[in-house]
Amino acid sequence: MTDGKSVIKTRKLTKIYPGNTRAVDGIDFEVKSGEIFAFLGPNGAGKTTTIKMLNTLITPTSGRAMVAGFDVAKNPGEVRKRIGYTGQDVGVDEFATARENLTLYGHFYRLDNDTIKRRVKKILDIVGLTGYENKMVSTYSGGMRKRLDLAMGLIHRPQILFLDEPTTGLDPQTRAHVWEYIRKLVTNLNMTIFLTTHYMEEADRLANRIAIIDLGKIITTGTADELKRSIGGDVVTLSPCDDKDEACKEFVRRTEAILTGKPFVVGTKPTDGELAVYVNNGESAIPSIMSLMTSEGIAVKTISMSRPSLDDVFLKYTGRTIRAQEGTRTTMVQIRKMGNRRRG
């Protein structure tokens, strides 16, 4: 699929908003033709700001970004001809049909009427809206709207498709459908896809390569497997206490001190009341850990083993979990909305 040609390349790409907020802080990355590349990170990490710099909606404060062979700041018009964009909000006209929405975008890309007609038919088929093309969008379900939203970025066969949190707010079933459509696009239309997400599963299942982003910086890049391997074979999570109090934190600290440097331990990471231990082989590590704890007089209350997830990768590099931050989703969205309003 990938032919190795670079279609997105950034150098020290930076966006500073008024009030000296460094939303994106000097990031470098490269996306190859035919890849599905995901930006994974919590809300407020700088994902949307990055995507909006790449699709020419906002101008970088400094640094450079080349998209489809053109500089986003110097040649935004050329970039726009070659990209498709689906934002977080479903930007479709409620008072028009799917066909009318798609046709309008066809005209924006200067396609002639015959081409538009042909492509509308094909695209509606790809996103599974055939039969609904002449129905008003206001009668569509959320999933149908999102699919139309995706389709609108495809009418001109873009080289690169930008998807900003393509499945946020969709139910699990619809989400799986949307993933399927995105995969179809890559195989049917040979497109490069750049997507942002805060769902680990989405990055894991969909992306060829993932960049983990936090606080405006890229922390690490690789395939899902590479990232997981980078933290060792297995994750053993142990909790030396029932309550998450100060005494418990002390136990976690002591446990970490004991295990650090042991030959079978690749790394450790404490969270509140628990200690994640990255090991090469979980099955053999558990007895060793238990005997060490017993000899030091620490009573382990619970112990569990799992294959590393991208959340463990995020935890290892940032000391926080993405999951722990999902609870604040609403507040983050509100803050961002307010920010957008202020920024305009």
Binding site: N55, T56, L57, I58, T59, G77, R80, K81, I83, G84, Y85, T86, G87, Q88, D89, V90, G91, V92, D93, F95, A96, E100, L104, Y105, H107, F108, Y109, R110, M136, D149, M152, F162, R341, G344
Partner: protein
Amino acid sequence: MNALTDTWYITLSSLRARIRMPVFIFMSLSQPILFLLLFPQIFKAVGSSMFAGGTSYLQFFTPGILVMTGLFSAAFSGMGMIIAMDTGILSKMLATPVTRVSIILGRVIATVVVLLAQAAIILVIAVIMGVHIQTGVGGALLALLLIGLLGLGISAFSEGMALLLKRQENLMAVVNLFTMPLMFLSTMMMPSELLPNWLDTFRHFNPIDYAIVGVRGLILNGYIWSDLWRSFAVLCGVAVVGVAFATMMFRKRAE
């Protein structure tokens, strides 16, 4: 060339959206129709003593109502822009090669088409009620042209304010702050001879009064070009300034 075709397609899609919500088009007609029915009744006694030559108050008041219809429709034009911003429609469009200025022009032209249709409906109702247009069909079309120019300027201004204020509540407040006083601080309801001096001075700075005076001239007095030119010149100025303001705000919004 691209700007023209883009404007054309955006005008068509904005018009389509409006026609599919006919409720709004008729709702905004209800107030002018009510005024048209009510005010001539209230001022009936005054009317006969106010004007020489048997001009009825209805005859005098109709031009004001026509301009009011256009003004109100145009002033709320920016609401649609705020919806486009909130729903992500605008961002999505801006990521395409569409000519930027077409997004504003297409929306404004659609607003003007709708408000002209509304003004034409009001004019037909007025004629049915007995209003006589001195200059006939030609004059009526010229009157609509004046209202269209005012609508162009005001709706562009409203789109610009929408981009600046970003919230429907704020835009509502600004629209109400300006439209009502500008309507009343004009010769809409009273001839200039009966206005207090300060108001008669103020109206010369009120673009809406130029529209009313122009339309009234065509309906009551015939083609008095010396007056008409002044109205056309001022309203063309309003249109140019409005579109320039909206374009500037849009550039700022799109960085």
